[in-house]
Amino acid sequence: MFTGFRPQRGTITVILLGLISVIVVFAFSISRRLSSHTQLLTVGDHTQIARYFLESYAGDLLRQVAAQANTDGSEIHTAFRRPDAGDAALTLPSYKPNSLLSELQKELGIEFTGTPKIGIRGVKPLLYPEVVQPPETLRGTEKHGYLSVSCSIRFNKKPYYISLRVPFMVTMRMTPVLREFVLFCDRIHLEQQRPYGSQDRINITFTKDSDHPKDVPPAYSAYKGQPWILWPTPGFETDRNRCGRVFLGADDRPIYLNLAGEKNFQGFMSDLWQVFPEWIKVNKAGTKFQLQPIFLDTTGKAISLRGIDVPLKFRNHLAKIGILGFCHEITPDADDGLFANSSRDLRDIMGPDPAFQALVNENPQALALASSLKLFGKNGEPADPDNPYYGPAREVFGKVFGRFLMITFFEYPSAQGGGQPLPYNPNSAFVPPPFATFNNVSEVTFEPAEPGQRYGDYMSRVVSGGLDVAAAADSYLCVNPESKKTRRPFGFTEFAPADGTRLKGRFDAFGPAWFSIDPKKKAGDPLLPTVQSRISRTFPNQAAFLKYAGDGKTTFRVDGVVYVKGDLTLGDITATDVRGGVVLVEKEIRLGNITRGIDFSQPEKALIPELTKKIAELKQDELLTFVSLSGRPIKLAGDKQVGVQLVSMSPTVGVPCTQITWEAIKRPVFCGGIAVNTPNMAERVREFGRAGADPIFFYVPAMADPKPSTSVCIRPFMAGYRLSIDEVKE
């Protein structure tokens, strides 16, 4: 039996060994599988943990870069504003992680490895519309690109690395071109369809603080308001750049502003200083006007006016030229008027001047009504009449003419009544018939002083009358101070602000070109040559904006160009920590006071010096611009705004409409600039009138800085992302 089994004894052993081997191999492979599962889980978990930590780390770096990007004086601030478009490396000196990140780092046992790398890459300049021509030095001031951030850590002995790309843009904090203006109205011509009568809605204020005459015809009671007075900023009157410019358009439509004048040389509200003696062509010698007798009244008393004597061809023959501004005292029915005791009135002196006739025929009060826009303050003329005064250097663009009356008397020895008026004659080469001397003893003839001079150069007339503009344009008085010499109004070709920007087209083309929003394109699209490409943040409503900007009590920060959908209503902003920018609003804007720490309750004597000191100190990066893109009215619930530009413009405006309005008005104080299509002066005059005191408007000199202030915005989304579980060498 045993013999039979012996040869098969090894079979069991072999089977057993085989089975054991299979079990061992199986167990080993299962063990490996389980261990690789565990490894996989560990790697997966650790990668997730490292990823979120690295993202938090990179986020902290971005946050710290952004915080310094708009802080003047830091290296990062300077790096973003380099004029060249090349790549640049940024350093965060002594980077310190925020406390939450530090805590997390300790908790997870993570080690920061190497220095984080931050760089500016792919920089390209933002585009401008064709009408705006920035100088080479400014091209690239506004730009876009991306910020590259890379950092690494070691976690559980393994290196992890992240690299992000985040878009950024650098934009100006104020609107180019418009920031140069204290007042920009590109369709104010709609308020003066004709420069006479009811279609003239600009020359509508009475003089003497709008208090004269005392008894106004009922139809004119609404005119007893206050003009819009743009004061030259104290200390900057002679600086044409920092004085604040004015544009009254459209570019090709003349605007006539009645210069106010009063009985005395130094009127309470007189604009006659704007007429320079040199402007009178036939005046070759006098550099200043004097209060001097021009004619005699019925009692033989000399009536003195602001004027000048021009010697004629013959000895002791004079043309006595007097200038008159619009005021109650030149109206025919004024008891205390200039002609109250005279056998003549203005009709006799002006003769058939069509402009004069149009004025008095269409509106009986026309001679008493002056411009509601006071572009150089109320009466800036110094008290000392011995010094010629040319006014502040404020540039006025557009075909803006100053309208006044010039009356001329021909005085010669033994003249009847002290002198003979030289009335208007449509023929400027007219030769008047000889004038009789006293008692008709002899006759004298009017002979201009020099050959080439004509009767028309001397005669009495309404200067800048508006009816003979084609024939006599160069005898019109341009309101712009420089244009008085060239006799040509300032247009867009003369626009030369200190930052070097020039215009290639009309002023009235700027608004539609710059504020155009294409709903099909994204905000911040760098390919658009409009303000749309400058929008760094869009807020769905005003609450989101306020959350971002601050409460206005401690801080208010705009930093760049932002867009608020819907309406925007802001309460008082009293903070002094204000970082400026442009707030584009889809619909209506209502603003409270923006006081910048000034106490407006103090007496005016103390307030004005403090205010002017403040506006001289304000920097462009503190200034706020609010833009109503729909052109709807910007409502000012407060009447004190310091360091603000308000813009409400729409390409569809075709009739005068209110685009800025003061709601609760006491005494408006506004320091900054206003840009609208039409100010709707008739409404503003009444509004300011309700205040009971004249409004104060100043330009803020920093608005015209040659180097515009810019703001950096790091966008809240990524343009590139890379995570590595390894050492990465760039």
Binding site: I12, I23, L34, Q48, D60, A66, L104
Partner: protein, 161 residues
């Protein structure tokens, strides 16, 4: 006759084979459990990352509000996730809603999530917060004691920096 195997030999063989199969089956069972457990762990990781990413992608204030709301609920059933619920309500899924619900219930029945928030203080107040997302699950569906959990942490910064 002698050349064939006797009953005893067959029985001995079966015993040996059975003895060999015990550890093999045990290994196999362990492997299956391990794979199941790994799958659940990975699902938990994905769930945590998805919730974290969703919160981080929101604007700061919205993210903070939502995170605080979730934090107030403490442990929440993963199937009660508002996004999941709203997605299931989408008209495009109407035809397969019950199948999807059944599938989800099968996969995430014992998964729970918890969110916690720690806000920055001092100068960092209202500028950043630490967000923790924790996911817990049953390794063994039948045993509450078999619960495991993992968490992810990230810092959310205010976008306007």
């Amino acid at each position: 006759m002698n050349r064939g195997m006797s009953m005893i030999e067959i029985l001995v063989g079966l015993v040996i084979f059975s003895l060999a199969m015990v550890p093999l089956l045990s290994f196999s069972f362990t492997t299956t459990r391990g794979t199941h457990s790994v799958g659940k762990h990975m699902m938990a990781g994905q769930l945590a990352a998805s919730l974290m990413d969703r919160l981080l992608a929101k604007p700061y204030d919205e993210a903070l509000t939502q995170a605080k709301e979730l934090a107030a609920k403490r442990w929440t059933d993963a199937l009660e996730d508002p996004l999941l619920v709203s997605m299931l309500g989408h008209s495009a899924l109407a035809g397969h809603k019950s199948e999807i619900e059944q599938d989800l219930r099968k996969s995430f029945r014992f998964f729970q999530t918890k969110v916690s928030v720690k806000e920055g203080s001092g100068e960092e107040a209202d500028r950043m917060f630490l967000l923790t997302v924790e996911v817990s699950w049953r390794v063994d569906d039948g045993s509450e004691k078999s619960r495991q959990s993992l968490d992810l942490k990230a810092i959310k910064y205010r976008e306007d920096l």
